[in-house]
């Protein structure tokens, strides 16, 4: 059945600056708001990493641009680095920015189902960003109780020495949760209801599925933590004893509530990353994504299993050892569907006509690096070895080998891939390739030494080993210093990206509608897309990965082409 000529929007009056950039309900503008906020927060998060790595690589020296890293300041810096990177960089960019930009375009409608709720979500998120940044300025400084905020350290200002920062941190995180609940529900409803005629469930591009599933996993897991956060807030401010054993509470309760959310959360950020990579692999292999349905089934399995693995973060916290057995088994099980997804990617590449444009380099980089992250997770998921490795630098290296591919590598892949659509111009390929190698190679030089120091027993969250004789292993200092220097190199190469990003906006080659010759719907509209997206709302006739079909003129068959 062909679509009626639905015309999105009515007579359009060009809005003023405020309405266009600060008060818009257009999903593309809101996407940009999330993207730029997230990128700005990434600069701050990266600066914080610079500070503490300088302290670790050159202990007790003055850090240029910061000063001396005292124990209290170290705690605040590592806490805020983790919190900002996860809640104010990874989530807003992967889920909110790309979700907002891509969903209406890729499913063939004119905006989100509830544009004003969409705008409200960003405003709440912006407020949370202001609160968390504001916490740096209060008496005592930013919260220093680690991003995991375990009580009694997080509940008592006498312990964490950052009482105001602790409260603000909690409020900022709570606001951020509300923003993402609203946004995620909006995404889900839009994808469920507002698809173009002809787009059945299994014709939806994988990245859209992934963003929706991520939103659902988030929604189902964050509830208990919201409850727990309210309880922690009351412990901090109203002298309740929810987590105080002397008053009938239990610190372990917080840990459970936190990680019941915390573990699904890592899949909330992993899923969109894998979705982005899937899209890019198909386009740059000129080949259908292998096993679309298997991909979905594996993702559903990961989503569900992610709810029963959480206590692997608590193996040494004093949980009942019999529970540790259960969670070990489930944790090892979850690696199976994830591995399956990686196999599907490899199968997609196999026999493909591979083009190594910059987005593809980043996508391949994701696969290689995430593989290392996943494999090292096995050692930590087995409770026996985890007793030794928990809270060492081995753990830090493991989760950076998962988080950096997720929050940095796949984000760059997405930016390089969709930049032409967002801004109407191509990014410079040479600068892009320099940026890629200048990021990925130093990344490995940062973290491989940390696997080694971790195995040797280096504990995390220690500002300087000099004060702890039994921990200081001077023979390993050269590894720590190497790691720091590699970080400095990696940060410097980001300049290539910043220059490329802003210069190409005005001076890049004009992109046209479909520079990558892709089949999905966002490439059928002008770059950048106008308000309302589609002059004529599309009808969909096939799945999203029809590449390399024999007997056709072109090697790709757009979803909305009738023939």
């Amino acid at each position: 059945m062909s679509s009626q000529a639905e015309h999105a929007g009515s007579v359009h009056v060009e809005p003023g600056f405020f309405k266009k950039y600060c008060w818009s309900t257009d999903h593309k503008m809101i996407a940009m708001q999330y993207l730029f906020t997230g990128m700005a927060m990434a600069v701050i998060g990266g600066f914080l990493a610079y500070v503490f790595r300088m302290q670790l690589g050159f202990p007790n020296h003055n850090v240029p641009g910061f000063g001396i890293v005292t124990p209290g300041r170290y705690n605040a810096v590592v806490t805020m680095h983790g919190s900002i990177m996860i809640f104010w960089v990874a989530m807003p960019v992967l889920v909110a920015a790309f979700g907002n930009f891509l969903i209406p375009l890729m499913i063939g409608c004119d905006d989100m189902a509830f544009p004003r709720i969409n705008r409200l979500s960003f405003q709440i998120f912006l407020l949370s960003s202001i609160v968390i940044l504001g916490s740096f300025l209060v008496k005592g400084g930013a919260f220093g109780g680690a991003w995991t905020a375990y009580p009694p350290l997080s509940a008592s200002g006498a312990y964490n020495l950052t009482p105001a920062g602790a409260v603000l941190w909690l409020l900022a995180v709570a606001l951020e949760f509300v923003a993402f609940l609203l946004g995620g529900i909006n995404f889900t409803v839009t994808v469920m209801n507002s698809r173009a005629p002809g787009m059945k469930m299994f014709d939806i591009p994988i990245v859209i599925w992934m963003i929706v599933l991520a939103s659902l996993v988030f929604m189902a897991s964050v509830g208990p933590l919201i409850a727990g956060a309210v309880m922690l807030l009351f412990d901090q401010t109203l002298s309740t004893g929810f987590y105080d054993p002397a008053r009938g509470g239990d610190p372990l309760l917080w840990q459970h509530l936190f990680w019941f959310f915390g573990h699904p959360e890592v899949y909330v950020v992993l899923l969109p990353a894998m979705g982005i990579v899937a899209e890019i692999l198909a386009v740059f292999s000129r080949k259908k994504l292998f096993g679309y349905k298997s991909m979905l089934y594996s993702t559903w399995a990961v989503g569900i299993l992610s709810f029963v693995v959480w206590a692997h973060h608590q193996f040494v916290a004093g949980i009942d050892p019999r529970m540790a057995n259960v969670f070990s088994v489930t944790t090892l099980l979850i690696s199976i569907p994830v591995a399956e997804m990686v196999f599907l990617y490899i199968a997609t590449l196999y026999g493909g006509s591979i083009r190594l444009d910059t987005p593809m380099l980043w996508a391949l980089g994701f696969l290689a690096e995430f593989l290392i992250g996943g494999v090292t997770g096995i050692f930590l998921g087995a409770s026996g070895t985890d007793i030794y490795l928990h809270d060492t630098y081995f753990l830090i290296a493991h989760f950076h080998y998962t988080f950096v591919p997720i929050a940095i590598i796949s984000v760059f892949a997405a930016i390089y891939f969709w930049y032409p659509k967002m801004f109407g111009r191509m990014l410079n390929e040479t600068l892009g390739k320099i940026h890629f190698w200048g990021t990925v190679i130093p990344f490995n030089v940062i973290f491989i030494p940390l696997f080694i120091t971790g195995l040797a027993g280096d504990q995390r969250r220690v500002y300087s080993y000099a004060q702890f004789a039994e921990q200081s292993k001077p023979a390993l200092q050269h590894l720590r210093t190497t790691s720091t220097i590699a970080l400095l190199v990696m940060l410097s190469f980001q300049l290539f990206f910043i220059v490329n990003f802003f210069w190409s906006m005005r001076h890049g080659k004009l992109a046209g509608k479909n520079p990558w010759r892709s089949t999905t719907l966002e490439w059928t509209v002008p770059s950048p897309p106008p308000h309302g997206n589609f002059a004529e709302l599309p009808t969909v006739y096939r799945g999203p990965y029809e590449y390399g079909l024999p007997g056709r003129d072109d090697d790709y068959w757009p979803q909305d082409a009738p023939h």
Binding site: M1, S3, Q4, R195, P197, G198, M199, K200, A220, S221, P224, P245, A246, G248, D250, L252, L253, H256, L257, F260, F307, V308, W310, A311, G318, I319, D320, P321, R322, M323
Partner: protein, 126 residues
């Protein structure tokens, strides 16, 4: 896939049949009285059944008759049950550490103490 646009001013034709809501309300109030009455009993089982059994029945009546959940698409009640299932998983994973006060090679002395001293002052009526 049918295109089913819905103009904003028009409500859907009623997708539910509207029973006598006042009657249902009366049943709910009666159940409330049962639960309060049963709570005054001295027999523990009666109290629990009156309180919680009635609660489940009332919740079901509200969900079915007021929220019309049984004429909704089937996946909606399933979705809500899945959410409840996650809470059951939460309970199962956390209760061994928080509800119990001792286990394999561990013991929560502060909690045991609190229970003991609390129960000592309990009036002997249950």
């Amino acid at each position: 896939m049918k295109e089913t646009p819905m103009p904003e001013t028009m409500t859907t034709e009623s997708h539910v049949h509207h029973p006598d809501y006042v009657k249902i309300w009366a049943v709910l109030v009666a159940l409330l009285l049962v639960s309060v009455g049963g709570a005054m009993s001295n027999i523990r089982v009666v109290v629990l059944v009156a309180a919680f059994g009635v609660a489940f029945v009332k919740a079901y009546i509200v969900a079915k008759n007021f929220m019309h959940i049984n004429v909704e698409k089937r996946w909606v009640p399933y979705l809500l049950l899945v959410m409840i299932a996650f809470i059951v998983i939460l309970f199962t994973g956390v209760a061994p550490d928080v509800m119990k006060h001792g286990g394999l090679r561990w013991s929560n002395d502060a909690a045991k103490q609190a229970v003991e001293s609390g129960m000592k002052t309990a009036p002997k009526n249950e």
